[in-house]
């Protein structure tokens, strides 16, 4: 049994979680029968979540990209790589050096001569070099680390779902070190290993800052299938002043001479002195080598690495507090699981839009197999793009659109747990029991802060009603609700409350099977409408919260956000207009 297998069998897995704090939705009443989740992976909802970055919002990444990386556990200001192996593809011929190295042919020739003279006429084949660098570390002071959208088109990345971003850095201080740099000449194996230990190179104090620019092409081929392509690495390495150092002695071929059978080692210190006379040239060579390597070879090598290590499908899974969970026990309720996957990338006139497909499931109701997501259907019956007409792009950084289908999926899961079961009815403390999950409707000509909740309810007949209708009486209607923002205080995230505006009487429909005598259906419906008219008076005089203090996302990718305004978007989305920087106190 392998070590890994043993570990798998014996380790106690601890699920990572952060204490759920705060309230979700306040409702009351007794649970109705739960709806069993279907035992198959949920269909990913297309364009479920949209992130629209305005020009103003994009500027944030030019100034604060390092903060975004840090929030995601990555730092580019320091790095460490255990080992790095460079295999030359072909032997190095002094008379056929690449153009940038031709000026060093004299230096390389001198090195060859020194070694030849010390190795007593040893004949060299053209070297085929393999270099292994161990424990590479770098530390840099990065004055500017930005990430921006490149406006000039790149042919391969001009189509749909494509964009080119540019990572730019200005580095006034940089130190690169390696525990050892050991080479082997594969065409002259008798030379064994040679090289240096404790190598470092750094920008000298008088040097200009190092500038690096890396354009990266991004294309979403299909949901979750994202291509990243480093299109080049441009540096100002040829314009900066470097200094270098390494430990002595160098690791050099050991030469022994046998005199009457007694081995006598030649003085390596002298060989080292000869080689170190060329130290300044080595620095120049290193500088050109790094520059050419970065420009000519590194992009492709990094692309190969990205290809090898990037998952086939980019899917993020996480948790969320179940809306409507009991207030006191919210922290101990099983959370819902959500999955998101990038689906589209659009460069609109006023924003860069990233569309994500998503689904939410309830682990308490679904089998493990059913917890996944079927992404293949994410584009079926996808809603049209959000209009983002609720605010001027100059007034916010990021628009976050939440598809009503996603909201309804979540409402359905909460309903199945029995969290939403009653709706206030009038002002006498009466309530109606919901028989199916409430459905949020945002399409149509609604005011910016309005939405419709489509409800199917049951009511216990009272008095004379009992003679004409079944128990319970089933009917449906649309309830107009108002979305009211409660700003967060002391760093807490903003919250939304759904206040009952009125019930749309014209949408009231009594179920025919609820009426004992069919010909009375119309009369019963009129009677229900009459009661609803009275209830509407109550809603007006005493605004009631259908759902209170629904927390809205307080961060995107670790960037704290504050809500500026919201919009009920006629394409079927709730759009939150957000500003970076968390809540204003």
């Amino acid at each position: 049994m392998t070590t890994k297998m043993t570990i798998r069998m014996t380790m106690k897995i601890l699920r990572i979680g952060v204490m759920a704090l705060g309230l979700a939705v306040v409702t009351s009443g007794v649970a109705l029968a739960g709806v069993q989740a279907k035992e198959k992976p949920a269909c990913g909802i297309g364009r479920a979540v949209g992130l629209g970055l305005t020009e103003r919002g994009q500027k944030y990444f030019v100034e604060h990209f390092a903060d975004v990386l840090f929030a995601n556990g990555i730092s580019l200001s320091e790095g460490q790589i255990d080992s790095f192996v460079l295999n030359a593809e072909k032997p190095l011929k002094l008379d056929q050096l690449p153009i940038h190295f031709q000026k060093f042919s004299g230096t390389l020739g001198k090195i060859r001569s020194i070694l030849k003279s010390w190795l007593l006429g040893f004949s060299f084949n053209d070297p085929l070099i393999r270099v292994e660098v161990k424990d590479i570390r770098y530390s840099a002071q990065i004055d500017r680390l930005g990430f921006s959208l490149q406006t000039s088109p790149v042919r391969e990345f001009t189509g749909a779902n494509s964009a080119v971003f540019v990572l730019e850095a200005q580095i006034p201080s940089l130190r690169l070190s390696a525990a050892s740099v050991m080479g082997k000449n594969l065409n002259n194996s008798s030379l064994k290993t040679f090289g240096v230990r404790g190598l470092f190179t750094e920008l000298s104090g008088e040097s200009k800052p190092l500038e690096i620019q890396i354009p990266i092409g991004v294309r979403i081929k299909e949901t979750g299938n994202v291509e990243f392509n480093i299109l080049g690495i441009h540096t100002s390495l040829d314009q900066v002043d470097l200094k270098m150092g390494f430990d002595r002695p160098l690791v050099l071929p050991r030469v022994e001479v046998l005199i009457d059978g007694h081995p006598i080692a030649l003085n390596q210190a002298a060989l080292e002195r000869e080689l170190l006379k060329l130290k300044d040239r080595y620095l120049e060579m290193l500088q050109v080598l790094l520059d050419r390597f970065a420009e000519e070879q590194l992009p492709q090598k990094l692309n190969n690495l990205i290809q090898a290590y990037l998952p086939q499908n980019l899917v993020e899974g996480n948790e969320m507090a179940a809306p409507g969970a009991p207030v006191m026990g919210a922290a101990f309720q099983t959370k819902f699981k959500w999955w998101m996957s990038p689906q589209e990338l659009r460069q609109e006139s006023h924003m860069l839009f990233l569309g994500l497909a998503a689904s939410v499931r309830d682990p308490a109701k679904s089998s493990v197999e059913a917890l996944g997501t079927d992404w293949s259907c994410a584009e079926d019956s996808m809603r049209s793009m959000p209009t983002f007409s609720g605010a001027h792009p100059a007034d916010y950084d990021l628009a976050l659109s939440l598809n009503q289908d996603l909201v309804n999926q979540i409402l359905g899961l909460s309903f199945a747990r029995g969290y939403f079961e009653k709706v206030p009815y009038g002002d006498a403390g009466e309530s109606l029991a919901m028989t199916v999950a409430p459905e949020l409707v945002l399409t149509g000509a609604l005011a910016k802060d309005r939405a419709i909740l489509r409800l199917q309810v049951a009511k216990k007949p009272q008095g004379i009603e009992k003679f004409f209708v079944e128990n319970p009486l089933l009917f449906s209607f649309d309830m107009n609700v108002r979305l009211v923002v409660t700003p967060g205080v002391k760093g807490a995230s903003s919250r939304i409350s759904l206040l009952v505006d009125r019930i749309d009487e014209s949408t009231v429909k009594v179920k025919r099977e609820s009426v004992k005598l069919g010909f009375l259906h119309s009369m019963i419906e009129k009677s229900v409408k009459k009661k609803i008219r009275r209830a509407n008076v109550g809603y007006k005089s005493n605004p009631m919260a259908l759902a209170k203090d629904v927390a809205i996302p307080s961060e995107v990718a670790g960037i704290p956000l504050s809500l500026q305004s919201l919009q009920s978007d006629s394409s079927g989305y709730i759009v939150l207009y957000l500003e970076y920087g968390g809540q204003k106190q």
Partner: protein
């Protein structure tokens, strides 16, 4: 084997860095007012993690890498615990950005982690001694 996990807290800490190229050092952390947890232990994980893309209520940190073997410190009778300063090894480009605290019994078995998406963070304890288990991050050949 049964472990009593009382709570899990994620703290965002400021890492104090020494001279350039030095390993990051996390300052000593003193936590008070844990009287209700007296006699139990605090398991301290120094992790590199990423926040959820969508910061909805109830989301969890996704831990990519546990930067060093966790330490266990006892909560004293006055409800105070001192987490000593610690230098963290630099591993690839991952940087320590969260401290995860888990309360257990003092003699509870070792704790391992699993992310909400089912993935398991890279954990130095799960590699044979002296061998990095982080090949994809910290070593490559071209």
């Amino acid at each position: 084997m049964k472990k009593r996990i009382l709570f899990l807290v994620s703290l965002f800490l400021i890492v104090s860095l020494g001279a350039m190229a030095a390993e990051p050092i996390v300052n000593e952390v003193r936590i008070v007012n844990l009287r209700h947890l007296s006699g139990l232990a605090l398991n301290v994980f120094y992790v590199s993690g990423r926040q959820a893309t969508l910061g909805v209520e109830g989301r969890s940190l996704s831990v990519r890498q546990i930067q060093a073997a966790p330490i266990r410190v006892s909560i004293d009778s006055s409800g105070q615990v001192v987490i000593p300063a610690r230098a963290l090894p630099r591993l690839g480009f991952s940087v320590f950005n969260n401290m995860v605290l888990v309360v257990t019994k003092v003699d509870a078995p070792a704790i391992y982690m699993q992310n909400p998406d089912g993935s398991v963070p890279l954990d130095a304890r799960m590699a044979p001694a002296g061998i990095s288990n982080l090949p994809s991050h910290s070593a490559f050949s071209i």
